[in-house]
Amino acid sequence: MKPKVAFYWCASCGGCEEAVVDLGEELLTVADAVDIVFWPVAMDFKTSDVEALADGELAAAFVNGAIRTSEEEEMVRLLRRKAQVVVAFGACAWLGGIPGLANLYGRRSILDYVYGEEPSLEEHDGARPQEETDVAEGHVSLPTFDDDVRTLDQVIEVDYFLPGCPPPGELIRTAITALIEGTLPEKGSVLAPDVALCSDCPRLPSKPEKPSVKRFVRPHQVQIDPDLCLLAQGLICLGPATRSGCGAVCIAANMPCTGCMGPVSRVVDHGAKAMSAMASLLEADDEAEADALIGEIADPVGTFYRYSLPASLLHRRREPEAAGRSPS
């Protein structure tokens, strides 16, 4: 019998699903080798189909997206029970990803803004989403919107992590092949090379021994030289602090690395390491001058923790009076 696999999405954009579809004809080969028994974005199966499986009947569940609602939590707990191997698929599932930047706010401030302050064509009437409502047709319920965004392994045990936003096709192929052939590495591994992007960067030969930067610039402010190390051009490129395995596609497109592949295994807090790498490049020694130049870096949290805020040491913005996670 062919091994059964499931794909599921939580708080994500759909790009990870796209990455699976982007395997193209190879997807048919995969479909020959495994039985896809659950994939809400592409195939018509219901939660009850998963519930009907025996525990451990799934060879693997690929889960993308971070965890923000009680529904997502319920589904990943179900998939954890049914699957022998759970793979956190993509930056959001591994580190929180872009949706994780919502940890700069809490549940209450998000709902207050979206349903109260956001400019709108309709007047705000103070309505808020309710978890339980009685309507003519009967009683309806909605999932709970949690107070924070969590990574997948902050909710369930995860066996493997596939990095990237979305994971590169090559890494997906390697992972699926290893799963089918039973050659997966040690549990807990990140299924990507464990070196920094700089070591695989086509522009490495042009990287100065010690790059130094007079001031940081953003891509729209300069004409970027397509052959020269981006750090040497003053761009904030997170290559020195980010895991390789993406094929440096952004660099090839003349854009700096934003860190979607996450940290290497020796790093605890990706953003902190990225800040450390960038700050030391600045030439300014005078405190006031250095502070002014660092002040030009727009949005330090969004720049250095773009994909990893929920997985960071701070996890979320500090709000002394924040409510705890709503009971689900």
Partner: protein, 147 residues
């Protein structure tokens, strides 16, 4: 800010460089200077060794403030380490501000080996500043329940 809690004793983790500030702390001790016992000192070979992760890990694991001490500009034993520390701390503080953590909780000071009284003054000052701010109380990082 809430009323200062009389029973709150701030916990401050200090990272002092081997050549200047740590030596100054030694001098303060030898000179029988007394200062707030709230500061726990970790010795680094150079303030340039300060990884921003150290500061975040200290705050995560219960410190209410972090003090970093290095050689005066131009005096670094390794020539440039203190400038790197300064740039890292400046950037880190901007990030911390955006994350809702007050500026006064992280402080960088240049203290030479001869400035025992500056160790005393800075440790006392920072202890009182952090005491006035109150406990840091970071929200816990969620952990999955044991399966």
């Amino acid at each position: 800010m809430s009323e200062p809690d009389e029973t709150f004793e701030p916990r401050i983790v200090a990272f002092f460089c081997n050549w200047c500030t740590y030596t100054a702390a030694d001098l303060a001790g030898i000179s029988r200077m007394t200062y707030a016992p709230n500061v726990r000192v970790v010795r680094l070979m150079c303030s340039g060794r300060l990884d921003p992760q150290f500061v975040l890990a200290a705050l995560r694991d219960g410190a209410d403030g972090v003090l970093i001490g290095g050689c005066h500009p131009g005096d670094c034993h390794y020539q440039l380490g203190n400038y790197n520390a300064q740039r890292r701390v400046l950037l880190l503080k901007r990030m911390l501000r955006a994350m809702g953590i007050e500026d006064e909780r992280v402080r960088l000071e240049w203290i030479s080996a001869a400035e025992g009284e500056k160790v005393q003054r800075v440790c006392n000052e920072m202890t009182e500043q952090v005491r006035a701010l109150g406990p840091l109380h970071l929200a816990a990082v969620p952990r999955r329940e044991a399966s």
